[in-house]
């Protein structure tokens, strides 16, 4: 029996330059602390091995601090055997990276920098390290090599499979890769652990992408996870269980709005619970249509909620404001120039003779007019 934790795509050293200093600091800290959470997840699952299927580091030349911190984190979890395999971000072309790790390697760290089989008790790991950033060939072909009789065969690869599209909605934007999706069957593997795709995906019963243990974008909208894998014997079906490992949450929402919505209630429903918001990065996109008042209510609700989050990126550009006669009358009950200005901008916003940019600019100007008029008491 062989039990291990399958993970990948830690992307240590990712800078997160698009965030403010506070969020960036917490994002980096959460990423660097992931070793401890992976080790604990392995212990909790009764596993003594963590297989990292590539992209442990975000760059081919991580700073000495990042390298040292990773090395120390693995060494401190001495009861765990760590197997690190180069991915496309930290391929073998990153010679300094791998030579530095090799020079100061703790005993519980195995560097899978060539396709040689790695014996780990009852199992033999067959790694397919990325030689360069874009190898352009299926490196997992080396997994066909024989292993001692009676050994559980575990493949470790990195990159996209050739027909991600076949996975459907599980990976709607999956990469176009070169790895044969039936590699496990072809090479007689009991399990094929893959990296590169940050979401967690089951290709078949023996082939999985573990996903990243600490998400780094809104792309997958899932909490960081790893896979706890148990293989009873050669040929036995693996038992694969996702385990949570993420510290921060990336929450992306698309609000499709229509007039008449109870906007504050809807916002409260769409957003994560308040107790999770402190560790959540929010990206909210709104589309559809709202009245002036509803849009104002939406903006107020979002303004009130945004400080709850570690980071809040709200984009209402896709939302169309409906300027009803009542709205325009409320803007200027006297029917004076303000109302006429609003009507003029409203007409510009739907004028087919204007360019799309001009129409959007007019719509924006109309929203501004409502906002400014609201600030000025009638």
């Amino acid at each position: 029996m062989f039990r291990f934790l399958h993970s990948s795509d830690l992307h240590l050293g990712k800078p997160f330059g698009g965030f403010d200093d506070d969020a960036r600091g917490r994002l980096r800290a959460a990423r660097e602390d992931v070793f401890g959470r992976l080790a604990q997840a392995a212990r909790d699952g009764g596993a003594g091995v963590v297989l990292l299927a590539g992209d442990t580091f975000d760059q081919e030349t991580p700073t000495p601090r990042i390298l040292r911190h990773a090395r120390n984190a693995m060494a401190q979890n001495a009861d765990i055997t760590w197997v690190l395999m180069p991915g496309n971000h930290d391929s073998l072309a990153a010679t300094v990276l791998w030579s530095t790790l090799a020079q100061d390697r703790p005993d519980n760290l195995i560097l899978a920098t060539d396709p040689s089989p790695i014996a780990l008790g009852a199992a033999t790991v067959l790694p397919a390290p990325c030689t360069v950033r874009s190898p352009g060939r299926d490196l997992t072909e080396t997994m066909d090599q024989p292993t001692p009789e009676g050994q559980i065969r575990v493949g470790l690869g990195h990159g996209g499979i050739t027909d991600f599209a076949a996975l459907g909605q599980a990976a709607p934007e999956g990469p176009r890769g070169v790895i044969a999706p039936d590699r496990a069957a072809r090479a007689g593997l009991d399990y094929l652990g893959l990296g590169d795709w940050h979401g967690q995906i089951r290709i078949d019963a023996r082939s999985w992408y573990s996903g990243t243990p600490e998400p780094d974008s809104f792309k997958h909208d899932v909490q960081g996870q790893a896979l706890l894998v148990e293989i009873a014997a050669p040929g036995a079906a693996p038992r694969v269980a996702p385990v949570a490992t993420g510290a921060l949450h990336w929450h992306a929402s698309l609000l499709s709005l229509t007039p008449g919505e109870d906007v504050p209630a809807l916002i409260e429903t769409m957003l994560p619970p308040r107790d999770r918001r402190h560790g959540t990065l929010l990206r909210l996109r709104a589309e559809g249509r709202l009245s002036v008042g509803e849009r104002r209510a939406l903006a107020r609700a979002l303004d009130a909620s945004s400080p709850d989050f570690l980071s809040a990126d709200v984009d209402l550009d896709g939302l169309t404001t409906l300027h009803s006669d009542a709205d325009i009358e409320a803007l200027d009950p006297t029917g004076g120039a303000l109302r006429q200005a609003a009507q003029s901008l409203g007409a510009q916003a739907v004028d087919p003779d204007l360019s799309r940019g001009d129409r959007e600019e007019a719509r924006h100007a109309l929203d501004l007019l409502h906002a400014l008029a609201a600030e000025v008491a009638p």
Binding site: Q59, P62, A365
Partner: protein, 870 residues
């Protein structure tokens, strides 16, 4: 809305009193009272009732309180379509507001009462009714501080400003102003007036930040590209090093080198063997050649002896033949010598005779030349003497042509003066019978010369004395005569004729001297001395020739002399040819002699070399045997050499193979060293970049740049939207102003026409204030109009607004408090007409102290009653 009565209690001068203005009717109402009767108190109290909150404590309220204090109460009876209402406010110590219905029932109190009034007045306490109030005009009595003109200006300004303010309110302009101000402020914070990012504004800063980060990103991207290249190169170097370090390949290179070195050693050994065989063959060939040389030498000496003997015989024969030729040539040369000597002697004799004849002829020629030269010397001397004599004769002759010309000019001048004096005369013509007489004689017509003073008688007239002026002409004549005399004296001549004779004599002498001088020049152009020297030279030449003999006068016969010369040349040529032949014979003879000596010597040597006959034969046989042995040895050695050469390997190929094997090993070593060095350098470079966190910085900067660019783009969109909003607001406000000014001006036009025909007001679209008036074709700025006209325009503008409100169904009273203080009688009458025109559907209440001026206004006359408060 119409006011029917106004009641004041305890207001200003009405302290403790109730003052009531009652009987206010529709249309015009005139309250015309003297000063200090309380008209402005009514005006201000009514204004406070309408527009000042009951609980206000401000200046307006305080101004209403009498000096004795106490509550101030103002009440108005107001008629509305719904009925009659009473609106009352108490200020100061009792603060309340009450609205009662016609039955006295309280309808609203305090704030509710205020709202009732606000609703009544249309749009609140600051509503359009405020527009229709015209406070007291310029009297100079309100403050007693400002000058009359300043008061007038301030009053009109307040009036016109309130007009503008009400228009704004009606058009919603005040709110729009605030919106525009907010939008403009937001726009100004972002952009300049031309829409460019404002310096130090958030948009400009966002662009600057985006540019900065973009530049940083590009720089980092370039560095990362370099880093990636280094990593790729590092991978390639590692791969090459691995290939070079491959054990099998290293062994193959070593084996290849060892084999090449072994083959080369064997080739070197075989080459040594070839060299030894070549030396043996060479040595044998040398021995063969030596034997052959010895035999050839022996045979050569035998052949040489035979040849020298023949050569000796031939030399002896040649020497004999040469001697015979020499003897013959000597005889011919001797004969030629004799013939040449004889011919030369004959020619010389003939040439001597010819020379002597030539000298004889030359002597005769020289004699002739001597005679000519001597004759020219004599003639030249004669001419020289003649010239000297002529020159000596000329010296005393003073009448030169120039002197004579001066004398002639003086004489002519004297003659001209004398002739002029002789020309004075008179000319007489008669036209009647009377005649001039002189000394009793009638003077005939014509010219009459006057030689001196003369007197004529003129019958019936008297006498006429004429004087030709002789005394005045005398000095000129004297000067001319004096000059003439001086010229003669200068030439030492007594008179003109003598001078002329002396001049001619001098001319003759000059011609004689010129003739002698010319001849002398022809005879001796270079003077007499060269001529005399030529005579001496000829004489010397004749002396040198001596005296010739007459026998030498005949020259030699030319033909004889020519033949002698030809013979001389021919015999000389023959002699030269004979001598040449002789010299050739002598040379041939000498050569033959030398050849004989050489042949004799060579033959003796050859004979000495071969020695005796028997020894020579034996030597030849011995040399032949030695040669045969040497040739056999040589053939044997050559065969051995060919054999060893045929067995030799390809040395060059083996050497090239060795060089290639060595080169491969050395190149691998050098390439390995070079690649290790490059790898070390690449590692250093990569590690340096890694230490610097280059890729991380790039990713971070890239994200930050995108954020900054997005921010700048948002600001750009915001600025564009604000610009569009501001433009739209400006357009719609302009349109709104036009829309509202149209009706106002329509109402104003007939009112204005009452005062000024064909007049129209212009308004400032920004301030909405009247800015000028155009009468006919003459535009006039408002400030250029008289104070009265400005005042009238202000009132008419208000009346126009009042008409507008009335047409909109919200008529409100127009209340004027001494508003026309500057209008003259004519204009005020017209203003009354305007007021009546408005009053057709509008209540107008006029307060004035100008009782006589407003007597013609007409309309109702409300009653003012004052009584103590109960």
């Amino acid at each position: 809305m119409k006011l029917r009565a106004i009641t004041l209690e305890n207001v200003r001068k009405f302290a403790g009193q109730r003052a009531e203005l009652s009987g206010i009717g529709d249309g015009i109402n005139l309250i015309s009272e003297a000063n200090e009767t309380g008209k402005s108190t009514f005006f201000d109290a009514l204004h406070a009732l309408m527009f000042t909150k009951y609980n206000a404590t401000g200046k307006e309220v305080r101004s209403l309180r009498p000096a004795s204090g106490g509550a101030v109460r103002v009440r108005a009876q107001i008629e509305l379509p719904e009925g009659l209402f009473t609106f009352e406010k108490s200020f100061a110590s009792q603060q309340r507001a009450v609205v009662r219905g016609g039955d006295g029932q309280v309808i609203a109190q305090d704030d509710e009462a205020e709202r009732w009034a606000a609703h009544l007045l249309g749009t609140g306490i600051a509503g359009p009714a405020g527009l229709l109030w015209v406070r007291q005009g310029v009297t100079g009595l309100e403050t007693g501080v400002k000058s009359e003109n300043a008061q007038s200006h301030e009053t009109r300004k307040t009036l016109l400003s309130s007009v503008a303010g009400e228009i704004d309110m009606v058009t919603g302009g005040r709110r729009m102003d605030r919106v525009i101000a907010s939008a403009q402020s937001a726009f100004d914070a972002l952009a300049t007036a031309t829409g460019r990012p404002r310096a130090n504004g958030p948009w400009a800063e966002a662009i600057t930040e985006a540019d900065r980060l973009g530049a940083l990103r590009d720089g980092l991207a370039s560095e990362v590209a370099g880093l990636r290249d280094a990593l790729d190169r590092r991978t390639a170097v590692a791969r090459q090093l691995a290939d070079l370090s491959d054990a099998e390949r290293q062994d193959a290179r070593a084996r290849s080198l060892a084999q090449a070195e072994e083959a080369f050693a064997q080739a070197q050994a075989h080459a040594a063997r070839v060299e030894a065989a070549r030396k043996d063959a060479t040595l044998a060939a040398l021995q063969r050649d030596a034997a052959q040389g010895a035999l050839d030498g022996l045979l050569e000496r035998q052949r040489s002896s035979t040849e020298t003997a023949a050569t000796l015989d031939a030399a002896e024969g040649a020497q004999t033949a040469a001697q015979a030729v020499l003897d013959q040539a000597q005889g011919r040369a001797d004969a030629a010598q004799r013939h040449a000597t004889e011919a030369r002697r004959s020619a010389d004799a003939l040439r001597a005779a010819q020379a002597r004849a030539g000298q004889h002829a030359l002597h005769a020629e020289l004699r002739k030349s001597l005679e000519g030269a001597q004759a020219r010397v004599v003639e030249a001397e004669t001419q020289r003497v003649a010239a000297e004599r002529a020159r000596a004769a000329l010296a005393p002759m003073r009448v030169t042509p120039a002197v004579l010309e001066g004398i002639e000019r003086a004489a002519q001048a004297a003659q001209r003066v004398q002739a002029g004096q002789a020309g004075a005369s008179i000319v007489v013509h008669y036209s009647g019978a009377a005649r001039i007489t002189h000394d009793g004689n009638a003077l005939p017509e014509g010219r009459h010369a006057l030689s001196g003073p003369v007197r004529f008688d003129l019958p019936g007239i008297g006498t006429l004395d004429l004087d030709p002026g002789e005394d005045e002409a005398a000095p000129d004549q004297a000067r001319a005569q004096s000059a003439f005399a001086a010229a003669l004296a200068e030439a030492d001549m007594p008179d003109l004729d003598t001078a002329r004779a002396a001049g001619r004599t001098r001319e003759d002498a000059e011609r004689a001297m010129a003739l002698a001088q010319g001849r002398l020049t022809v005879l001796a152009p270079d003077g007499l001395d060269p001529l005399r020297a030529e005579v001496a030279r000829i004489e010397d030449e004749l002396a040198r020739l001596g005296t010739p003999q007459e026998a030498d006068a005949a020259p030699a016969d030319p033909e004889t002399l020519a033949q002698a010369v030809r013979d001389e040349a021919q015999t000389a040529a023959d002699l030269e040819e004979a001598n040449a032949v002789l010299n050739g014979a002598r040379l041939a003879h000498e050569r033959a002699r030398i050849g004989l000596e050489d042949a004799t010597r060579d033959h003796a040597a050859a004979r000495a070399a071969i020695g005796a006959q028997e020894e020579a034969a034996e030597a030849e046989r011995s040399a032949s045997r030695t040669l045969a042995q040497a040739q056999a040895l040589c053939a044997e050695r050559d065969g051995a050499l060919d054999e060893v050469i045929a067995q030799a390997p390809d040395h060059d190929t083996i050497a090239a193979e060795l060089a290639r094997a060595r080169g491969a090993v050395e190149a691998a070593q050098e390439e390995t060293a070079r690649l290790r060095q490059e790898r070390s350098e690449l590692d250093g470079r990569i590690r340096s970049k890694a230490d610097d966190g280059l890729e991380e910085r790039l990713e971070e900067t890239r994200a930050r740049a995108e954020t900054a660019e997005a921010r700048a783009a948002r600001f750009a969109r915001e600025a564009a939207a604000l610009r569009r909003l501001l433009d739209t607001l400006a357009q719609t406000r302009g349109a709104a102003q036009e829309a509202y000014f149209g009706p106002i001006q329509a109402e104003l036009a007939p009112l204005l026409a009452i005062l000024h025909e064909d007049a129209a007001l212009s308004f400032d679209p920004a301030t909405l204030l009247p800015t000028g008036m155009q009468r006919g074709d003459t535009p006039e700025a408002l400030t250029q109009l008289s104070g009265g006209t400005q005042e009238q325009i202000a009132v008419l503008t208000r009346l126009a607004f009042a008409r507008l409100f009335a047409r909109q169904g919200t008529p409100v009273p127009v209340i004027l408090d001494d508003a026309l203080v500057y209008s003259d009688d004519d204009r005020i009458e017209r203003m009354f007409t305007a007021l009546h025109r408005v009053a057709l559907d509008q209540q107008v209440i006029v307060f004035t102290c100008r009782q006589r001026a407003f007597a013609g206004l007409g309309g109702a006359r409300p009653q003012l009653t004052v009584a103590p408060i109960d």
